[in-house]
């Protein structure tokens, strides 16, 4: 009888261990995917770079390098001044106009975690406030709830 209980306990522990491993793998994978999509952006913006672990920062840098090396096999043949991966045409004091950024104006679904009352979300439209109550679900531009998300007042769904 006791060995049956031990077997069951072992099974439960194994299941839990596998679930934890899955979560960690999924977490790391999601972060790597995001870094790959916006590698140069991550490296360029200090407030994004500081959110990456040391290993991730090195990953972002190494990844950007192998992408550049690959692209240069074709871009290197382009006319002079047009070979850059980050600038359309190389100009003195030119901005890096070819670096994709996440779209902060994309719409997201989110759930409100705590009562916040009347909140001004859009600085371009300050009169238009929203009454945020706990468990409200919004579909709204990410840019407008970014701060609330960082304060953990809303969750993305």
């Amino acid at each position: 009888a006791s060995s049956a209980t031990d077997d069951l306990t072992a099974h439960v522990y194994h299941a839990e261990l596998n679930r934890i491993r899955f979560l960690m793998r999924a977490y790391y994978r999601a972060r790597l995917r995001k870094i790959e999509t916006h590698a140069v952006h991550c490296l360029k913006e200090p407030d994004v770079l500081e959110r990456l672990s040391d290993l991730e920062q090195r990953y972002a840098s190494d990844y950007a390098n192998i992408v550049e090396e690959h692209f240069s096999s074709v871009l290197g043949q382009m006319p002079e001044g047009y070979e850059s991966m980050v600038q359309q045409i190389i100009e003195e004091d030119g901005a890096f106009d070819m670096v994709p950024e996440p779209d902060a104006d994309a719409h997201v679904f989110c759930r409100v975690r705590e009562d916040r009352g009347d909140v001004m979300l859009d600085p371009d439209d300050p009169e238009n406030t929203m009454d945020l109550e706990r468990d409200d679900i919004l579909m709204i531009r990410y840019r407008l709830i970014k701060k609330l998300l960082e304060d953990e007042a809303v969750d993305l769904m």
Partner: protein, 218 residues
């Protein structure tokens, strides 16, 4: 294939009558291919797009030269000439964008290979990749390995568990003769068509490789 090359040469001999059409063809090439596949690298068309960009650039230099020969500075150029230069410049940029769309989408699919197939690139896929793409795959696979590794990495195989685990032991049938493997429970002889109950961690890499087939609980 030959008639395509002949048509390509004919188009080139007409000059740049349709700005951007070659670039559009290149983007169509990858856009119309099935999502999980990588069609053969269209080296001929990619080169044609680059060559067209070089022709536009030569036109720009010629126009600039003509202006400077009259003794005028570029700022004093006639609107017609400025417009011509601008159009050629935009044509180069458009070709550049088309090339990058092509390379980038293919690169995305090459990356996916590392996660689905592992570090060994099947020959049937490799022959569709350009030399640079094969090199990128090798470097990318190594980069992921380094990140996953125990020394200097997170120490967790990230290619396992693409989906949440449901059972911690799985029933599998052996599809290819594989020989003996050592598991937590001891040695298991994976002979073709035999069925085994294995730990998920042991079975999963072999399922991904196609050696084992997961049996549903029925």
């Amino acid at each position: 294939r030959e008639s395509g090359a002949a048509r390509g040469r004919a188009r080139a001999s007409f000059g740049m009558s349709n700005f951007g059409s070659k670039g559009a063809m290149l983007v169509t090439d990858i856009a119309q291919s099935a999502k999980g596949t990588i069609p053969p690298y269209n080296d001929e068309l990619a080169r044609a797009v680059v060559d067209e960009a070089q022709e536009h650039h030569r036109s720009i230099l010629r126009l600039i030269g003509d202006i400077q020969k009259t003794g005028a500075s570029l700022d004093e150029a006639k609107p017609d000439d400025a417009a011509s230069i601008l159009v050629h410049h935009q044509a180069v940029l458009r070709n550049k964008r088309a090339l990058l769309v092509y390379l980038n989408e293919r690169m995305r699919r090459v990356r996916a290979l590392r996660w689905e197939v592992g570090t060994g690139l099947p020959e049937v896929v490799a022959e569709n990749l350009s030399h640079s793409e094969r090199s990128f795959f090798t470097q990318y696979a190594a980069l992921v390995n380094k990140y996953q590794g125990r020394r200097g990495g997170v120490g967790l195989n990230l290619t396992l568990d693409p989906a949440p685990p449901r059972d911690h032991k799985v029933q599998v049938r052996v599809l290819e003769e594989y020989g003996e493997v050592v598991t937590r429970d001891g040695a298991v002889d994976l002979r073709k068509n035999t069925v085994h109950l294995l730990w998920r961690d042991d079975a999963q890499p072999l399922i991904a490789e196609g050696v084992l087939e997961k049996l549903d609980d029925n």
